[in-house]
Subunit: 338 residues, 2 copies
């Protein structure tokens, strides 16, 4: 049975939401979950679940908490007993198999990078996030781990994304696309122009450049970009969704017609949310480090936490870390680039 | 009376839509419009408008047409008599005051850059696009003219955006933001970190970093980023809108409840479209070149063409070119950067 550590203190609604998510996860998958955080607080919170499965959920004490807005490097240096550092240490020391957090993304990434370390041959870790589209979902690499990239980094992102899409999302031969601002090979900036040539020469199923408008139509299974661009797309997408929701909420207040219309559309909006909500896909996977580490959204609800744990479980089942390690170390494309 | 040249052959629905847009524009503003394109074709198309105001609309012959997917540099070298080159030449030679095109954006930008030339001191031209937000609209600089940028380029974008927001959008003291993937000054990539420091030291009303989620809430009046990121946001925004429309169109086909709901919501969707449609804001303004040049969306309808012409008119009225020239040449911030 896999043993997953959940950062019980991370996220906007910790620890209650985290505990609820853990409960859902241990019911759904053959796993054990350790809640890592302030013991007294967690013991108190667990009292609300007198029937909790004690054999599948336990607590590991960590006396410090990293705030959502704290500096990742500062917290890494100063808070050695935070739920993030203690949790990742359990994985590093082989006492647990994977780590999941809805806490400070930067702090989790920094700690994972220095705590777990990079896999041999990996130049930069990459935060892989599953995105919805009108057809099927796809994985965007990177969404914020590595913001200043070289072409060889993006090629490694593609290699890792290719394996992730295959192993975790079940795509047999993933279509790998390069995120760009035009279709033709010579479009884009220096980074994408150089990366295009490298990907073209790889043995992956490279389908060429993919534009912003193609992301939502499911043209590719893996889309590669630097972390600045990927994070921008992620956050702008969230912003547009919120703008849209806000508009119709205000409409419902000021127009009777709209209020009636929205009532009829309630099931449709639910279907829309289910299909397009990022939470459905359960957090971003930090690939390229020596262990499984999943970062969920700070505002994650119980289902999103459960799904983030599921992502960790799938990563363990498919032996993601070794698979990536093997692929990167046998990739001569990268050697040429060095 | 200002004299504006419209590329009559540019866009997905040229020349009919372009002519309709020109008709709307000459009715609305004290301007004369020259339709630049294949004379025989335009004369034929104008027959559909027997009552067209001949004193305010005329034709200037250009025998070649640049396709929407043609290489900008190739077409620039080979098609010397295209509607884009001929139209911009009229402006360059002082025979017209401004140029508007819904054609191949890259070709228009290349021709404007080489044809009109950069203003003294401007390092890179910038394509300024007005974006909707839930509060007021703002201008995003750059949306695709300069994709590999240095900090000094972004500072010039900010200076030009500041003037544009004031003169064209009527904002007294524009709030200038730096597009970034985090709020704190040290967030982002090397480009944004270095640009932050320069903007902080400028005499503009710099409000710091602005994230993707802030774009839709109207936090800033001017948002500065490199052309790769800006173009990505523009196209991804379009993609999401299309994904959304598609979802509800399909809902209406498969669910009676949704169909009824959507019927009630029709006025709300119209209001939504009016508020958030990029077309309302009439094309992107190429700033930093020695003349007024507006690029409309390839799929622009008559109203979008009219609004693009309006944008050119406003640029002329506010003497945008000289205002920018003066500001850039007196900017010591840039001198320090060189």
């Amino acid at each position: 049975m896999y043993h997953i550590v959940l950062d019980a203190m991370g996220g906007d609604n910790a620890p209650e939401i985290n505990i609820e998510g853990a409960m859902l996860a241990v019911e759904a998958y053959p796993i054990k979950v350790t809640l890592c955080g302030v013991e007294t607080e967690l013991k108190e919170a667990l009292k609300a679940y007198p029937d909790s499965p004690h054999d599948k959920i336990d607590i590991h004490n960590a006396t410090e908490v990293v705030g959502m807005a704290e500096s990742p490097t500062m917290s890494f240096r100063k808070k050695k007993d935070s739920s993030i550092q203690v949790g990742l240490r359990l994985v590093k020391e082989g006492k647990a198999d994977a780590f999941v957090s809805a806490g400070n993304t930067g702090a989790v990434m920094t700690t994972a990078l220095f705590g777990l370390g990079r896999l041999d041959g990996v130049e930069r870790p990459v935060l892989a996030s599953v995105f919805p589209s009108s057809k099927k979902h796809f994985v965007l690499m990177d969404v914020g781990s590595s913001v200043d990239c070289k072409p060889s980094h993006l090629v490694q992102f593609a290699i890792m994304g290719n394996l992730f899409s295959n192993a975790i999302l079940g795509v047999e031969t993933p279509r790998v696309g390069l995120y760009n601002i035009g279709e033709e090979p010579d479009k884009g900036n220096q980074l994408t122009q150089a990366t295009y040539k490298l990907l073209k020469g790889s043995d992956m199923n490279f389908i060429g450049n993919v534009e912003g408008k193609d992301l939502t139509t499911g043209k590719a299974d893996v889309v590669v970009c630097d972390g600045f661009v990927g994070n921008s797309l992620l956050k702008f997408g969230e912003g547009i969704s919120k703008m849209f929701t806000k508009f119709f909420k205000e409409e419902a207040k000021t127009s009777l017609l709209s209020l009636i219309g929205l009532m009829f559309l309630k099931p449709a909006f639910k279907r829309f949310k289910k299909k397009y909500d990022y939470d459905t896909y359960g957090g971003a996977h930090l690939l390229g480090v020596n262990g499984i580490c999943i970062v969920a959204h700070g505002s994650a609800g119980p289902v999103a936490i459960k799904n983030a744990i599921k992502t960790a479980f799938r990563g363990l089942e498919s032996n993601m870390v070794s698979v990536i390690g093997d692929a990167i170390s046998s990739s001569d494309l990268i050697e040429e680039e060095k």
